[in-house]
Symmetry: C2
Subunit: 444 residues, 2 copies
């Protein structure tokens, strides 16, 4: 047998198409958590300007009522619904992140899987499995493309996301392996998305692009479209032309189908830049453990990896948006017990609060290049002379029940407890639910 | 006044948006010729498998009846029509080429301009102008990205085509300069297309992608989408991330609005690989001038740039498709008076024709790296001992009336004389025609 011309693609297709053995329950449970998280941020983000603009575009085009569009009465063609829902769910930038993949898996994959599941009449369980297969593939391909791809200027959410969305959609469309390879080829020539769009509506649109690309690629391949089936890996294929690291596929494929890299996905529990989260978690832990109050605090030191200084170190923020990128102010907010998980906490008023400013000005930010960029160290010096220290690494696994509790609390904070619990009621039982139980809740 | 952060984009936007002075008539006439050529290849290509697959996808999605879909009863949303028509018009690979741009301008731009013209109720003249502005911008940006972008693996038809299509659509949508810049920013993160798809349905799909991207970018920007307005040129923008040469904008902008680089666009008059055309033209010229017949020919020598040997030098083709990539056989066909402009000429039977094979085997292909790749030299040695020589450079300007006559003959060969002349009747008078005169003819 000749060696495969596209060993990575072929193995990922075999994984995506397999329907025999059930997928591991631990990975499916993390997918349920991410689905709840995704529903919460998508519904909460549906009225953001970019979400409205893309949804209006989709609504204006019209077409066959195949799939639910979040925030719209009525449905749209699957591709269009994926475009709108991907954009809406990334509008707040409050969705999950995978640090090895360097991207946001759920916002690119879940919209494609959901739209195709509705179009094809899949069950809740089939939808969950397709989404899980898709996010796993985007994590694996994102890691194969690597940091070099990201540093060159590409946004993995959009690029690797297109491949994951394609495989999720292709699985639901029931493509055979040959057609799946052509779908991957279409994805390789359709995938795009630049980091230079960060800070604009382009970033959330990338998630919609990836999801819509995936649906289009799968449906064209199902209809017999012949592309370059090794387009991801071939000479002048996607990896080579897009500054991918394109290393040995063996470590990328290790444990595929048994070990799910997606299980280490990170959920955001604070509605601010991800670079601030480790410090907030460490300060929260100190506050809960030692029970001090703001008046007790003499000074605070936050130590972080130097790369974050260019990202989220606004010393004296003046607006709600700037507050989301300030170590000093969010540290003060956490120590003062503000709800850093609520969108409504980050206001101009909080920046002008004199008590918070006084505390903020006692916070000093330092760097240590030896720290992983997922970790922060904090030190709180009390007026009593006591020095309290803690560290937090976002990469540390969180026990599943604690993670679930935190996501449920986040969903309740974003949507209200009733809606959040209704969503979790359906998602926890998604294997025995018709898809309409879920879509009914996210539509409005 | 500060220097512009995006001098190329800003100048192209100013050019695209200007509606005061009329565009030069010589350039508008070349656009009319390319429009006739585009209609002919699009209608002739509408039943190719890739054209059907993409059209079926568009038809299945449905939606608002805004714009004509070639080969379909009924209309589709403008974006969808652009996708289908772009793909159909590049399906035969018989459309126009611009060698400085290194791409096919009309198949990416005309579908976007036509769909947006229909959506916005533009006149025939406004449509023509928007198409001309779009192809000119794609030629300029394609040249700015340069050969390095192409050699790295990108297909300018898809990439530069997206920018040109965006500007054509934005002009018709009446965007102000700020919104046009945001449309260009959307285009910079949406544009994609790899040369590794050549030889598959991916290549014609690229033209559809570019056209559809352009419509989507223009309509999102019109609705207030904020992107990175300097996304083409900024740090980690499209040019920098996509191996663009990204040189000084001054020569790229030279004469913009007065000199139209698009005027040097090449039309294909032979239904085979473009690398063969110069040799066929030179052989045709010899045959017409000297009036020899096949039996008079002792041997033939074709000299071409070496780069073509990897592209179109199948020595003994066996199928109609292979015939389209054979110097030796197409030289024999030209010398024997076959209609190399008709799609139906390239058959398995022509490859098995014993008289043609005997002549083909007397053709020798040589290379000369000093030749431009648009030029070929031919030498025909007669049995009488006479040696006849000619050369042809596709870059030599053709007199406008000869170019028109050749395109009308090509259209007649593809569509029949009646349809071809009806099309030219409308296009020649497009400034005084409602757009429906044209769309009625291309719809069916």
């Amino acid at each position: 047998m000749p060696a495969s011309a596209a060993p990575l693609t072929d193995a990922l297709i075999a994984f995506a198409g397999t329907r025999g053995a059930p997928l591991p329950e631990s990975a499916r449970q993390v997918m349920r958590l991410s689905l709840l998280d995704w529903c919460a941020v998508a519904i909460a983000g549906r009225d953001e300007p970019v979400a409205r603009i893309v949804r209006d575009r989709v609504e204006d085009e019209g077409g066959k009522a195949e799939a639910t569009v979040i925030g719209q009465n009525g449905k749209a063609p699957a591709r269009a619904a994926a475009l709108a829902n991907g954009t809406a769910s990334h509008a707040l930038d409050y969705d999950d992140t995978h640090f090895a993949h360097i991207g946001h898996p759920s916002v690119a994959i879940i919209p494609a899987a959901l739209a195709m599941a509705e179009k094809t009449g899949a069950t809740g369980g089939e939808f969950l499995d397709a989404a899980l297969v898709g996010v796993e593939i985007s994590c694996r391909i994102g890691t194969w493309l690597g940091r070099q791809h990201y540093q060159h200027g590409f946004h993995q959410t959009a690029t690797s996301g297109t491949f994951g969305a394609t495989m999720a959609a292709a699985r639901l469309a029931g493509l055979d392996p040959t057609a799946m390879a052509h779908a991957m080829g279409i994805a390789s020539t359709r995938a795009s998305g630049l980091k230079s769009q960060f800070g604009t509506m382009g970033k959330p649109y990338h998630a919609g692009m990836a999801a819509a690309n995936g649906v289009e690629a799968a449906l064209l391949a199902k209809a017999g479209f012949i592309s370059r089936p090794d387009g991801l890996e071939c000479e002048q294929g996607f990896g080579e032309t897009h500054a991918g690291e394109n290393g040995d596929p063996a470590p990328i494929l290790a444990g595929l189908g048994e070990v799910f890299w997606f299980e280490t996905v990170q959920h955001k529990f604070h509605a601010c830049c991800h670079g601030l989260h480790a410090a907030i978690e460490a300060l929260n832990a100190l506050r809960f453990e030692h029970g001090f109050v703001v008046e007790d605090i003499a000074s605070v030191r936050v130590t972080t990896h130097p790369r974050w200084l260019k990202v989220c170190n606004i010393a004296s923020p003046a607006t709600g948006l700037e507050a989301k990128f300030s170590y000093r102010l969010t540290a003060a907010m956490a120590l003062a017990g503000c709800d850093t998980g609520a969108l409504t906490t980050y206001t101009d008023a909080v920046c002008a609060d004199l008590a918070l400013i006084a505390l903020r000005d006692r916070v000093q930010v330092e760097t240590d290049p030896a720290l992983p960029d997922t970790e922060a160290r904090v030190e709180v010096r009390l007026r009593s002379g006591a020095v309290l220290a803690a560290r937090h690494d976002l990469d540390q696994p969180i026990a599943p029940d604690i993670r679930l509790a935190k996501i449920r609390a986040k969903a309740a904070s974003l949507l209200g407890p009733e809606k959040a619990e209704a969503l979790w009621g359906v998602i926890a039982d998604i294997d025995h639910q018709p898809l309409t139980s879920l879509t009914r809740l996210v539509a409005t």
